[in-house]
């Protein structure tokens, strides 16, 4: 279990959740195990749902970062330091955009790994999020300290 391999539990898509309009054979020239590509032996649908929810949770985190960044640039009072509000808000908004793209790439690689029965790839997103928030926090301390000095 420590390897993160979850593709060992695999079921065929049952008729109650299958899309009758979907073709059984993959389109020519595309990998049959890519995300959104139907294959004969698909991963358990619960894992796919869980992967989707993880993507959505990261996406909401991105939206929260963007909203916080906008609030920092628009609602905070002006600092003594020029560009103080932008120094705090813009990195948060940029971090939100980066996390949004990374969460999609992560969802896609997880989906591919599940279809191939491979271990799930490690995600760098928690590290990026922690580092980003730490940097913005330190920036806030520096701006507040310089403003008081």
């Amino acid at each position: 279990m420590g390897t993160g391999r979850i593709g060992v539990i695999r079921t065929r898509r049952v008729s109650s959740v299958a899309d009758p309009d979907r073709p059984t054979d993959p389109p020519s020239g595309r990998a049959p195990d890519g995300p959104g590509q139907p294959s004969q032996d698909e991963p358990d649908v619960r894992f796919t749902y869980a992967n989707e929810r993880t993507f959505l949770a990261w996406n909401r985190t991105s939206l929260a970062l963007i909203a916080t960044g906008v609030a920092a640039t628009q609602l905070l009072p002006k600092f003594e330091v020029t560009w103080g509000r932008r120094l705090l808000g813009l990195p948060l908004i940029a971090l939100g955009a980066v996390l949004a793209v990374t969460s999609f790439l992560n969802w896609r690689s997880n989906e591919r790994a599940m279809r191939r029965g491979e271990p799930l790839p490690r995600s760098v997103m928690p590290l990026v999020l922690c580092a980003g928030i730490t940097v913005v926090g330190l920036l806030a301390i520096v701006i507040a300290a310089v403003g008081k000095a």
């Binding site: 899309d19 989707e52 906008v70 640039t73 002006k78 813009l90």
Partner: protein
């Protein structure tokens, strides 16, 4: 009477639908904050930010609605393909672009 696996599968779907709802709400709130700060418009950059935000709403609202309806009741077609994720990601990035434009347009 459905067996255990069927019940669990149904709940997984329900949790996912709720997650989509929460994401839709977060998107609405984020868009509303941006629009609130954009109005009244001052200059070209704010009009660009408003256009980006409006495009996000116009594109993403039908997507979320269609997927919600698609998963309602017994008309379940299983997990979504990558198109919905790409649109959600594109919408979030577009909101970030709108936020950055607004931040740069506001006096420091």
């Amino acid at each position: 009477m459905p067996d255990g696996e069927q019940v669990d599968r149904g709940r997984a779907r329900e949790r996912t639908v709720l997650a989509w709802n929460r994401s839709g709400l977060a998107l609405v709130v984020c868009t509303a904050v941006l629009l609130r700060r954009l109005w009244p418009l001052r200059g070209t950059s704010q009009m660009v930010a408003l256009g980006v935000t409006a495009a996000v709403v116009v594109v993403l609202a039908p997507v979320v609605l269609v997927h919600h309806l698609r998963r309602r009741g017994r008309d379940d077609r299983g997990p979504l393909g990558p198109r919905a994720m790409i649109l959600m990601t594109a919408g979030t990035v577009a909101l970030a672009v709108g936020g950055i434009t607004l931040a740069l347009a506001t006096p420091a």
